[in-house]
Structure formats: structure tokens, C-alpha cells
Subunit: 497 residues, 2 copies
């Protein structure tokens, strides 16, 4: 077939895939935000049908063949690379029978409902059997793939291409050996009293500060939409359309602020990908650790930093003049950077956060590579919290039931949270070499940060791997010590160690 | 093929059609409410692809054949009837080549953008050429159908099955002969000063009253979602999920209130259809006039009536105590029922409203049946306003450019607005025979109204035609004099004629 025809056919293919994907996103975003309660099961049912349609179409043998031909005949390096990236995904998916795929989707929908119920009633036994079923079905699904190495290696690679247990073991070994003893020192040091951040902050004023964040972070309101949902998340509709949610907790000032900054990091990434990549795998296949590096970079290196609050704390203080009357900027900065071992990951501070991930990583490895019995998984969970963080959950709700990831079979996802934070530290160190970031932000020139991120990272989308990007941006291979050193230096400073 | 297999296949067919339809709704609802501006063209483009997919699948010859077989073999009357109703639609659609169908969808998307621009800049020549193109493409499209009678007859039947120019001519003749002279009398009578309703009503308090309306109208918040958009509309997601929008005009108290009540009429209809009809044509093919009869019934016979405001006016007055301090209930009722010929349909009062529709009906007939030149359509429009309502638009913006329907090729849609209002009057007369509606509503028992509507009208969905429903509910054939008599009696009373 002529190159021109192949290109047209591939255009049509990408369009259809994009249309189904948008439909799924649009429905899911609705479920999480505005859909009336009684309408949700119908939307879920329809989404499993649409997902099945997308599945059938995207892995149809004639379509895979067409993409292979384009890859072989193309005279354009990027085009070949994009076809390659897409085929890598399709080869795996194509091996799964459609019935197995759709059955798996339905199982996951059910599992998420059961998890919600179990979490609400703090009932681990209720969820345990369902989790066993999800794990077994996931293992069964994996039998269809050609997997080199372990099952868990395969899953890790799905969330961030190029990653495996060998690399993660080395990474987490550094985290463990550097941070566990350091955290003990922090725990022993004089504690920070951050109670003023947990009084009463009406949602209405918090929402006003979200409006201020739009300007402070130079959000393009033509392309960004923010609303509320129970769990904050970001959804990508196109290169011109990113939507994310936040949630206002009236007893916690920083929760919505940091979550908004975090989610905007995800949104900004997608909005700054080269628009020519629209509908391609370079757009949709960005690794989860890379994505998290951008949200964590904004959340921690900007949203918890002096430069940012030097400029915006006065405004925050005006909005909450009663509550923050006695809190001067230096104290505020100490409060928002307080570290204290705790049970709930999403409320964890920056320093102890990677240990929450370490625990999940170790448990996932046991589930997939060691076939650990799930009967005592909640106790194993508790033991590890005690070992690494010195705290022990007294209920499943503040232990193993806290995250929904396993109910959605997102095994291999958690580690990207820690890896992303480490990428962020290494990227940020480079940014600081290039210009005085803190001072630039303090002067209100956040656009310069965005431009640097676009030029160095965002524009490339998934056309470079995480490892390639780190190398190209910093001139060095990935090194987790940038992350641990950054944390140790920062918190030594805060806790005067 | 065995009946059981046919039924299974038809189930699968209905599921897929429902999934595509939901995706289109979900995307469109997003465009109208939350999608960031820059993201809208992408969603529009993707929706034309999904519409094309739905088209291909729904009219595929093997699917049509399958439905025909089910109709022929079924032993269930309702099943046969539903197949018949769906086939009626499919036979027409199937005759259009997919390229023509998709090209038409893209033309309409373009046309709506041009209309928006033309309306904003009050530029009729800008829109005129595009309208000519839409009309010609619509006429071209109609050449694919087997049409008995005129093209316009065909279009009218599309929006309300069983309707044609002959019936509408008779209907509008009654409207014209009864109402035009009566409106002249009203114009000559002493006018009502309704300025207190057009002072300043902050959106925030208006939104509070919307919350009160939820209770007042017994909305099931598990199934109903309300948000804001430029033009209020209702979107149906499933038998458990109806979403509608409103818009707050701070200088006009009743605009959002009546619009909310109106849209709820649409939502309630769908939520009260027999849930067994989910995904069937009995659910999706409800005629536009029937639908409008339910929104107009709530808007006019409830939302502008004494019983309703006897109960809720005190609350409204508390919310706007400054603005309504001097307005007692009897005056308020006169104000919200003021009649005055005006130029803008959507702001028209209940009495003059059908003449706005009459004008559009006459113009549409000229366009389709008489091939009138479009060069002077704006002047023809103005002439008819002068003739029937005694007012003349000075710009296209307050004349021919005011409605978006023609840009979406919704020719044949307008007449259902008047017909629906007439249906509403005849239905309501019957409801009043069955119980004392005003008193029941005044006592806060709105559920009784909802139950009556469900039992008599809603539950049947499209399994009965408008004519059949009128007959079954009232024991008589449709008679427009219920409508004109109701209007003349009501406004004679208000204007003491």
C-alpha cells in the first residue's frame, strides 16, 4: 500500500481511537463530578460497552497490520517511533480475548463498588475476597501476554516504561537506607505546632483562593477547568482541554491548596505537549512516574516553597485574617513543611511520603512474585507501618483499605508516586542551575517556570522515556540521591539537625 | 433464527446504540456547561466521528434485518410495536450514504458557529449564505428518503409523529383567528406595571431559590442534576439520570425560576417513563410536542399559577425582601402573567407566545414548500411580526437571528412548541376534572401532580402517539380550542376584559 494511503488510514484510526477515548473520559469525569447518584451504574455499564468497542477496533488484525506497514515504509523517524510505541501496547492487548477483557472491566467496576462499601464500613473481610478475585483475574490476564521476567516486572513497565523490580529494588533500597534512620532523627527532634492550619477554613474562602491560584500559576483558563469531587484527579480531554478537581476540607487549610497545585502539575504537562502529537501515543503514553514528577514538582518544590508564599501568603492571610492572625510567614512555612509519621498516604508529609509507597511496593511484590497469602495482608500492612514509620493502624480503614488502587487492579502504579517525586528532585536541581527559581517565583514570574518545563520536559510527551528525559535535561542518569539528599537537607534545615 | 437468539442480538444492539448515544450526550453536555473554550472544537470533531459510528452500526443491513425478523417472529405485542417504531426511523436513515450524513453533521457544526458569530455581531448577511447552504443540504438529504406528501410534512412528522402541514394549518388557523384579535384587546387594555420584577436580583439568592424549587417540585435529587449554561436545556442520560441547566439574569427575577420549572418538566417526563423501556425507542422517540406539553404544563399551569405561589411566594419574598417589599401576592401574580407583544420568543409571555411560533411555521412552509427567496427572509420576518404582533424588529439580532434552530437544521421543530402548549392545556383541563389541582399544590402536595402525570402520560413514553395519549387521557380528540379558550379566559380575567 502506498505511504500516502497508509497515512490516511492511520489518521482515521487515530481519530476513532481518540473519539472512543474521549467518550470514556467524558463519561467517567461525569461519574466523578456531576452524575446523579442513581445514574452512575448505567454510565458504568455503557462505558464497559464503549471500552469493548475501543478494544475490538484498536486491536483488529487489519489495523495492527496497517500500523506495521506504516512503521516499515515511513521515511519519518518520529512517525516510525510513534507507530512502534503504539504497537508495543497493541501487541500486548491484542492477545487478550475480548470476552476476557470485558469480563475483567466488569469485575473491576464491581470491585470498586465493594471497596467503597468496605471502606465506608471499615470492613476488611468484605473486601478481601473481592481483592483475591481481582488479583487472580489479573494474574489470569497476564497469562495472555508474552512476559519476559516476572509478572510484576511487566506491570511496573506498564506504568512507567523501562521500569522493573531490579531498578525499583535499587531505588527503594536507597530510600529505605537513607530515609528510615533520618526520619527517626526528625521524630526525636523538637516538633512543629501546626494546629493553626487545622482550625476552621470556610470552603467559600478556600474557593476564592483557588481563583487566586489560577492567576498565581498562570493557568490558561481557556484550556483548564476546575471543579470539585470526593477524590481529586485530573482528566485529559485534548491538548487544549485539561480538567481537574479539588476538595475543600474546612478543618484543613492546605489540603485543597496543595491538591490544586498538584493536579495543575498534571494538567500543565498535557497542555504543554507538542500539539502536533494530538491523538498520538506520544500524547497518551506518558509514563505515570513522569506525570507524577510534574505534579510533585509543583506541589513540593513550588507549593511548599518560600518564593511562592513570599508572594502569596499575604493574600491567604487576608482571606483568613482571623485564623492566621498570629502566623507569620516563617512559621507558616515551617507548618506546611512539618514532618510526622502517619497512617494515611494522601495526608502524608513530603519526607515520610516515599515510605508509604515503599510499603505498598513490597506488598505488591509479595502478591505477584511470592504468592503471599492474602489472609493476613492487613496484618502484614500494619507490621510494615510499624517497622518503617513507627505507627500502627488500628483499623483497616486507616490501613489496607485506605487506597482504591488495588480495587481497580492498579498493581504497579504506586511505585511511580515515589519515583516521580525523585525525578522531580533531579529535574528541579537542574532548573535551579539554569536560573534562580525561588527568586523568579517570588517576583511573580511563574511563566518562566512553565516555559522551562515545556522546553525541557513537557513538549516531548512520550516521545522520550523517563530515563532519556532525565539524561537529556540534567546530563546525568537518574540518581535517587538527588531526592534523598534534597529531603535530608531540607528537613535537617527545618528541624535544625 | 430462534426468537431467543434474536432477542439477545437485539439486546446487544440496543446496548451499543445506547452507549454511543450516551457518549454523544455526555460530550455535548460538557460542551454546553464545563468544557474549556479552547477544547470545544476537538470535542465537536470527535462527536462527529462517534455520530458516524452510531450511524454505521444502527443502519447496518444485518441489524435492520435482525430487527425485522424479531418483529415478525415476536409473540409480544409491545416488542413488535417497539421494533416497528425503531424500524420506521432506521428505514429513513438507512437510505442516506454515510459520507452524506457525516458531511451534513460537519456542515451543521459549522453553521452553528457562524450563527453564533452572526448573532453576536448582529450580522444577517453573514449568516444568510450559510443558511442557504444548510437549507440546500437539508433538501438534498430529503431526496434520499421515501417521502409521501411534501418535504415539510416529512420534517414535521420527524419531530412529532403523525403531524403534517394539513393538521398544523388547521391548528394555527385557530390560533390566528382566536388570538390575534384578542391580543389587540389586551394591548388596548390597562397595562400591568411589572417593573419590580426587573430590578436587581443577585444570582446567589436566585440559586438559593433553585434549591427551594427542588423541594417544592419534589425533584428526586438522586436522579436530577441542575447546573448553569448560556441557553437552558435538558439532557437525558438514562431513566435514572436527567440533567438540566438554568441561567441567572440578575435584572430579571422570573427568568431562571420559570426556566427551571420548564426544564424540570422535560426531566420529569423521562424519569417517569416505564423503566422497562430503558434503551428502547419508547424511551428515545418521545415526540417533541409531547415533551413540550410537559414542560409548558409545569411552567404555565403550575409556575404561573396562584396555588403554587400561595405556598412559595412568602419564601421568595424573604429572599428578596428589599426588592419585593411592596409587592403583595395578587400583584405578583398579575406581574408574572403580564402580556405584551414583544420581539424575542424566549422572553414572550404565555399569551403571545404561540404567535411567535406561527410566524416561524409560516416561514418554514415558504422555505420548503414554496422555495421562497432567502434574500429578503429577514424582511418577511419583520413584516409578519408587524402583522401579527404589531411590533417590528429594528435589527436582525432581535429578528431573524434570535433563534439557533435553523442553524442546526431543526426545521419542523418550532411548531411543536405551540402544539405542546396546546396539548398541555387539554391535559391540564383533564387533571382539573380529576382533582382540585390548585388547592393540592397550595397544600404542598406536588407529588400528586407528578403521580397523575406518570400514571396518565409519562409512563407510556413513545409507546403511544400524542394523538393517542390525548384521546386516552381526555376521552376526546385533540382540540386546540382548549388552548385558546384557556388563554382567552385567563387573560380576560387578568385584564378584566
Amino acid at each position: 500500500m502506498k505511504l500516502e494511503i497508509l497515512r490516511n488510514n492511520y489518521e482515521e484510526y487515530k481519530n476513532k481511537v481518540a473519539a472512543y477515548t474521549l467518550a470514556l473520559n467524558s463519561n467517567s469525569f461525569g461519574i466523578a463530578t456531576i452524575a446523579p447518584e442513581a445514574g452512575k451504574p448505567f454510565i458504568g455499564e455503557m462505558n464497559s460497552i464503549l471500552a469493548g468497542e475501543l478494544f475490538s477496533y484498536s486491536v483488529a488484525p487489519e489495523n495492527i497490520k496497517m500500523i506495521e506497514q506504516l512503521r516499515d515504509k515511513s521515511d519519518d523517524d518520529m512517525e516510525r517511533k510513534e507507530c512502534e510505541l503504539r504497537l508495543r501496547e497493541l501487541y500486548n492487548t491484542a492477545k487478550v480475548p475480548k470476552e476476557v477483557y470485558v469480563d475483567y472491566q466488569l469485575e473491576l467496576a464491581k470491585s470498586q463498588r465493594i471497596w467503597e462499601e468496605a471502606k465506608e464500613s471499615d470492613n476488611w473481610p468484605l473486601f478481601k475476597d473481592e481483592l483475591v478475585s481481582v488479583i487472580n483475574k489479573t494474574k489470569h490476564l497476564l497469562t495472555y501476554y508474552d512476559i519476559e521476567g516476572s509478572s510484576y516486572d511487566f506491570l511496573l513497565d506498564q506504568y512507567q516504561m523501562g521500569m522493573n523490580t531490579k531498578k525499583y529494588d535499587a531505588f527503594f533500597e536507597t530510600i529505605k537506607s537513607e530515609l528510615v534512620p533520618f526520619i527517626k532523627k526528625v521524630v526525636a527532634a523538637k516538633q512543629i505546632d501546626d494546629r493553626p492550619l487545622f482550625t476552621n477554613f470556610p470552603a467559600k474562602q478556600q474557593a476564592q483562593f483557588t481563583e487566586i491560584l489560577k492567576e498565581a500559576l498562570a493557568m490558561d483558563v481557556q484550556k483548564v477547568y476546575i471543579t470539585e469531587s470526593v477524590h481529586p484527579f485530573t482528566s485529559f480531554f485534548s491538548s487544549n482541554d485539561a480538567r481537574f478537581t479539588t476538595r475543600y476540607h474546612e478543618s484543613s487549610l492546605m489540603s485543597a491548596i496543595l491538591s490544586t497545585i498538584h493536579e495543575y502539575g498534571h494538567a500543565l504537562y498535557v497542555l504543554q505537549v507538542n500539539p502536533a502529537f494530538e491523538k498520538t501515543s506520544f500524547f497518551s503514553e506518558i509514563g505515570y512516574a513522569m506525570h507524577e514528577s510534574q505534579s510533585r514538582l509543583l506541589e513540593n518544590h513550588v507549593g511548599r516553597d518560600r518564593g511562592f508564599w513570599q508572594l502569596h501568603y499575604p493574600t491567604l492571610r487576608t482571606l483568613f485574617h482571623e485564623q492566621l492572625r498570629d502566623v507569620e510567614l516563617p512559621e507558616f512555612l515551617r507548618m506546611i513543611n512539618k514532618s510526622e509519621p502517619s497512617l494515611i498516604r494522601i495526608e502524608a508529609d513530603e519526607l515520610t511520603y516515599p515510605l508509604h509507597i515503599l510499603i505498598r511496593y513490597e506488598l505488591e511484590k509479595m502478591i505477584f512474585d511470592e504468592n503471599v497469602s492474602l489472609d493476613n495482608l492487613d496484618q502484614l500492612w500494619a507490621d510494615k507501618y510499624e517497622e518503617y514509620l513507627g505507627v500502627r493502624p488500628s483499623t483497616a480503614g486507616e490501613g489496607i483499605l485506605q487506597d482504591m488502587h488495588w480495587s481497580a487492579a492498579n498493581f504497579g502504579y504506586f511505585p511511580t508516586y515515589a519515583l516521580g517525586s525523585a525525578y522531580a528532585a533531579q529535574f528541579f536541581q537542574q532548573m535551579e542551575k539554569d536560573f534562580d527559581v525561588q527568586e523568579t517565583i517570588a517576583q511573580g514570574n511563574f511563566v518562566k517556570v512553565q516555559d522551562w518545563l515545556r522546553e525541557n520536559i513537557h513538549q516531548f510527551g512520550a516521545s522520550k522515556t523517563g530515563d532519556e528525559l532525565i539524561k537529556d535535561v540534567t546530563g546525568e542518569a537518574f540518581d535517587p540521591r538527588y531526592y534523598t539528599n534534597y529531603l535530608i537537607k531540607k528537613f535537617s534545615n527545618i528541624y535544625q539537625l
